[in-house]
């Protein structure tokens, strides 16, 4: 009896271990379903676990969405600045690229003309809508003089009028007072291109018998010695022959887009330069 008392603790422990092992082994076949103990315990803990989980979720949300966002805001500001800088660089690069393309075209024109010329930039437009003149950033200090022809990469722009020391004005070919000796490239019919305002010109003094069709290219004839021969002026958009009269009405759309001009070439020398 004394022996039993002496080893009672060990015996109980052994029985408990065996009982635990038996409980485990007996539950192995029913591993996918909850037994009574499991169901009871889960039911007991459910009312506590749910609100705690909800509170934990709220705390986690506050931490992630508010407290932990202090650095994110700083990052956001910094990244926005970087983005703005990058956008400015992209715009600047686009601008430089477009300028480069324009100047390359102007250089091509300069090579074709084979006359001494000077590049000028447009700094202003006419203050009245019914006159067509432009203000250039070069004047007598750059050896500009009245009457000098002005061209762009796509064709004739006009003539220099009213020169000041550092600025000068260009009378556009679309102005009512402008007149340029011209010829039709295909049929060699001659006339004078006169401005009609609103970005349109007409070919004046083209006789009824001249072969002129819509789509014909109009170029400078070189007569008068102001403009070199063969510079593109525009394209014929309308031809009208009346029943009477010795001339026909010819409308011309200029080759140059005047509203988009930025850099121009002023032909300063004669053809012999």
């Amino acid at each position: 009896m004394e022996l039993l008392k002496k080893y009672a603790a060990f015996i109980l422990l052994g029985v408990a271990c065996i009982a635990a092992l038996a409980f485990y082994t007996l539950n192995i076949p029913k591993k996918r379903s909850a037994n009574v103990i499991e169901r009871v315990l889960l039911s007991l803990f459910y009312p506590v676990i749910k609100p705690v989980a909800s509170i934990s979720g709220t705390i986690d949300g506050i931490w992630n969405n508010y407290i932990n966002l202090v650095d994110v805001r700083h990052d956001n500001v910094r990244l926005r600045e970087i983005l703005n800088q990058q956008n400015s660089r992209i715009i600047e690069a686009d601008e430089i690229s477009q300028e480069n393309q324009r100047l390359a075209k102007l250089l091509d024109m300069k090579k074709k003309i084979r006359r001494t010329s000077l590049t000028a930039t447009i700094i202003g437009n006419d203050t009245a809508p019914w006159f067509n003149t432009l203000l250039l950033d070069r004047g007598t200090t750059s050896s500009l003089a009245e009457g000098m022809p002005v061209v762009a990469s796509s064709g004739v722009v006009g003539q220099i009028v009213k020169v000041a020391p550092s600025t000068s004005r260009v009378l556009l070919l679309t102005d009512h007072t402008s007149g340029i000796a011209a010829t039709i490239l295909r049929s060699r019919a001659r006339g004078v291109v006169k401005g009609r305002g609103e970005g349109v010109c007409i070919l004046d003094f083209a006789s009824r018998e001249d072969d002129i069709k819509v789509g014909d290219m109009v170029v400078t004839s070189g007569i008068g010695g102001v403009f070199p021969k063969g510079l593109p002026i525009g394209e014929v958009t309308m031809v009208k022959r009346g029943e009477y009269g010795i001339f026909q009405t010819v409308s011309i759309k200029p080759s140059v887009n005047i509203s988009h001009l930025e850099e121009l070439l002023v032909l300063t020398g004669s053809g012999n330069d």
Partner: protein, 165 residues
């Protein structure tokens, strides 16, 4: 003195806006003629002695940057000044509505006189057609700019010439 300098600055600024700023953003027909608006303001609010040479000068300034005929706008601006001035003393010149109406009528007068002078004295009478073509949008643009000017606090303050007895 400060008001005179401010006036010159406003005229210079208006000219720069008309030649270099507006053409980039506004089509020529809808470009407001700020110098004409200023002339109308001077005619309504200024004195005859100071306003007449000033309006002629403003017109001349406009001629420097417009067309080929130096003196065309100078003459028309002076004429408009005299016409408006002759009746402004009998009107409530501080009225914003009157200012807008006066600018609209002055634009009409400016275009009409310029067209007449071009037809009579120049070798390019066709410019009159262009003037008439852009008349309506030009009046609208000028009236709109005049209506905006009436909102400025400077509009209600008297001109320096008006201070002198």
């Amino acid at each position: 003195m400060i008001k005179n300098v401010l006036g010159i600055l406003i005229i210079a600024l208006a000219l720069v806006f008309e030649t270099s700023f507006f053409p980039t953003f506004i089509s020529p027909e809808f470009k407001p003629d700020l110098l004409l608006v200023i002339t109308v303001y001077i005619a309504l609010r200024g004195t005859f002695e100071g306003g007449a040479p000033l309006s002629w000068g403003i017109g001349l300034l406009k001629d420097l940057f417009s067309g080929l005929y130096l003196g065309l706008n100078a003459f028309t601006f002076l004429l408009l000044f005299m016409v408006i001035k002759s009746s402004s003393d009998r009107l409530y010149a501080e009225s914003g509505e009157l200012f807008v109406v006066a600018v609209s009528l002055a634009t009409l007068g400016n275009v009409t006189v310029s067209a007449l002078l071009s037809v009579m004295f120049t070798s390019s009478p066709g410019v009159a057609y262009s003037m008439l073509y852009s008349l309506i949008p030009h009046i609208l643009a000028n009236a709109f700019s005049a209506s905006i000017i009436t909102l400025f606090p400077l509009f209600s303050s008297p001109l320096p010439e008006a201070d002198t007895p």
